[in-house]
Symmetry: C2
């Protein structure tokens, strides 16, 4: 559930969103995109939770992998629907993970 | 609910955790730490959600602010309890936000 990530540096995409009232088709697409993302070159892992705000953090080996995933055809279709229909607001943040620590199984 | 952040670069601390079965005192401490964090120099904002995994992302002006918050006396006490009692596993990731975009109110 907590992503297993390599020694830094690696990259994180923090996607924060608040859903609109029109979320028809959202859950199916979210699952599909999660599967598709995990098949992309350079994908490391993902963590996700939603209460009032939804936070999905995906981890990637490098910026090129993130750029390619953003440009993926099916993902672009999902992004369009998200922007127009599913999200009342969202923010995507591209980050370089410089340091990490923790306690993991 | 989605943090209002300045133009990059700025910093993010992604704190991912899974709770143990012994969460006595956790909620009070979480609220207290949220308030205390928001009073620290260099604090920008925070986003948080929990399902199976809890994700709290706090945003900071620079690494110095993050370092000072980590070393805060009351926060250190909370970290000890978290490590020993409240979390079965956790990971803290210190990130530089290099780029962002979105749709926000």
């Amino acid at each position: 559930m907590i992503a297993k990530t390599p020694k830094p540096p690696y990259y994180a995409v923090i996607f924060s969103s608040v859903k609109s009232e029109n979320t028809e088709g959202y859950n199916d697409m979210a699952l599909k995109m999660l599967k598709l993302a995990s098949e992309q070159p350079g994908f490391i892992g993902v963590e996700s939770a939603r209460e009032e705000v939804g936070i999905t953090v995906s981890y990637w080996e490098n910026l090129e992998a993130i750029k390619n995933w953003k440009a993926n055809f099916e993902h672009k279709e999902a992004q369009k629907l998200g922007r127009k229909q599913w999200y009342s607001c969202f923010k995507t943040r591209i980050c370089k993970v410089e340091h990490d620590y923790g306690k993991q199984n």
